[in-house]
Amino acid sequence: MSEPTTAAPESRPSRRIKLADGTGPVLAVLAVLLIALAFVGPAYSEPSGYLALLKRAAPLMILAIGQYFVIVSGGFDLSVGSLVTAEVVIAARLLDGDEAATLWVIPLLLCTGALVGLVNGLITTRLLVPSFIVTLGMLLVLDGAVFLWTGGSPRGALSEAFRVVGREGFEVPLLGQLPWSVLVLAALVVAAVVFMRRGTGRMLVAIGDNETSVRLGGGRVERLRTLAFVLSGVSAAIAAILLGGFAGVSAQVGDGLEFRVITAVVLGGVVLGGGRGSVVAAMAGALTLEALFSLLNLLGVAGGLESAVQGVIIIAAVAYAAAGRFSFRTRRST
């Protein structure tokens, strides 16, 4: 999965860092964790164990793609956690167990995600409110609005067809069952990598690095930053569809996801404030986090320590990245 970054086109050797800052370490840590899993858990002696891990990690990895776009262009998106909850609750309410409704509910969810992202993006870029505040406000609004609509607790039920993507898989020779969510993830990874290698993606990184120079160079800064928020909203919608299928309806499904996904992206060496990091590394960060949780689980570490370990790791990862760079920039985004 890491091949796309390492195999940079030879024609333009130093235009862009081939292996973005922090990509190397996170891949090394990921490899160590995956090997450790094989020693500790008997389930990981065959591919199906790793596929199950990927299936669990898929929603977080997809969220990491969306969050990467926002962070690399110099923003924050704190609204994804509550957006995931909102989407799952909306889906349950609209579907109410009706199989036939699945066909129009899924596109509707994707549109809702895009709309929330659009609002975030427009307020950030047009009204010049820092994205931290915009998405914090959006978090509050979504949290309140959804439960206002459903009267306090999630109602309705998801249809079987809706849950297939998050829960089921299909048989493949050699590998065993290949979950649909892994397939969705793979498609999105390819799409994200292709997107980041083309002009729009590069421009997004450039905006995070130096907004003024992109603007002076004729780049449409506002439009691109809005696009990043829209993509983040859509990624939250897709993650919600997978999570809803995987875990069912609950009002807590998205709790704390916003900080977890930011942790994942930062773990992947993406610098808060923008301009540094690769999308593959961001996803590797998400997978590393999930692999770490699985490992801690297998080792029988108590639930409480899980978050403490997460805390230590995130600080250590950023400190390590900062130590490696001569001038670490702690610019605050707008």
């Binding site: 914090l136 406000g137 509050l140 206002l148 978050s307 230590v312 995130i314 670490f328």
Partner: protein, 331 residues
């Protein structure tokens, strides 16, 4: 739109700015809110600002106000502190467990709690300045570490606060709680520190531009560490106050109320720039009072709690959009 207001005649812009400083705007909004709230509650046959109402608003403001005072200083330097919510829970536990119902232990418990809080603030500050970790990540990491500790050690409320200490949370002079007065006194001290002392000027200088401040000979690292320690101590005070209200320490008391994001919201609502360098404690207290008044009005009107969140989110975004417009955009 952006270009339009930057090239606007400076005189008109300046006049407008002097007429309505952000702090003045906050208090104007607070007065308008109180009037509108009184009318709305009045229509339903209640009174917003009777003794109970004032007491309610001030009590709600106390804990958030304490945290927000500390958060203001951190935000003024251009940083953030996301660890305060868990720290409040931790401090309420340390305080309540050390007291263990013994009135003689009040002073040692308070000192120990504040020392622990200061130590955590010190670690935050050191990680940010010496390890050069972004403040968002450093304090988020600290929040997760404290959370891990709380999760693995505590299952519920613990410790016992002696009656003498509970007076701090419940005593009042007329409709004004003593604790709210203490909070306001702390706010006044913070205001004095920020606007009248060298250390306070350094805080603004660091927030305005850290590089420039460093080249001007300010020890930026010390300033940043100092504000994080002060912020943690303020959170510790909030924890002690909540312990005295609850009668025991509760691990999740800070998190359930969302004091981390809520305090940032109050600070920003009070007109302090999230990027640092501008704003102050006076505006923050206004922001805290607005949030508390909104809550009280909604309670009096019997609105569902979910609607509160929606309004809060909208108010936050609109307020900051107004500040951004007024500032002539992009610093």
């Amino acid at each position: 739109m952006a270009a339009g207001s930057t090239v606007a005649p400076p005189r008109a812009g300046k006049r407008f700015a002097t007429v309505l400083q952000p702090t003045a705007m906050v208090y104007l909004a607070l007065v308008l809110l109180l009037v509108a709230g009184s009318v709305l509650v009045g229509i339903q046959g209640g009174v917003l600002l009777d003794q109970g109402g004032i007491l309610n608003i001030l009590t709600r403001s106390t804990a958030l106000g304490l945290v927000a005072i500390g958060q203001t200083m951190v935000i003024l330097t251009g940083k953030l502190d996301l660890s305060v919510a868990y720290l409040i829970g931790l401090c309420s536990l340390i305080g309540a467990e050390t007291m263990a119902g013994d009135p003689n232990m009040i002073l040692p418990a308070v000192l120990l709690t504040l020392a622990c809080a200061a130590a955590i603030g010190l670690v935050n500050g050191l990680v940010i300045t010496k390890l050069k970790v972004n403040a968002f990540i450093a304090t988020l990491g600290m929040a997760l570490i404290i959370r891990g500790y709380l999760e693995s050690v505590y299952t519920g409320p613990a410790g016992d606060v002696p009656r003498a200490f509970q007076h701090l949370g419940y005593d009042r002079i007329g409709p004004v709680p003593v604790s709210a007065l203490l909070m306001l006194a702390l706010a006044a001290a913070a205001w004095w520190y920020l606007t009248r002392t060298k250390g306070g000027y350094h805080v603004y200088a660091v927030g305005g531009d850290e590089e420039v401040a460093r080249f001007s000979g300010i020890r930026t690292d010390r300033t940043i560490i100092k504000v994080h320690v002060l912020c943690a101590v303020a959170a510790g005070l909030a924890g002690l106050f909540l312990a005295s209200r609850l009668g025991s320490g509760a691990p999740w008391v800070g998190v359930d109320a969302g004091y981390d994001l809520e305090s940032i919201a109050a600070v920003v609502l009070g007109g302090t720039l999230l990027a640092g360098g501008r704003g102050g404690v006076a505006g923050t207290i206004g922001g805290v009072l607005i949030l508390a008044t909104l809550d009280t009005i909604f309670d009096d009107l019997g609105v569902t709690p979910f609607f509160k969140d929606v309004v809060r989110g909208a108010v936050l975004i609109i307020a900051v959009a107004l500040y951004a417009r007024r500032r002539g955009l992009h610093r």
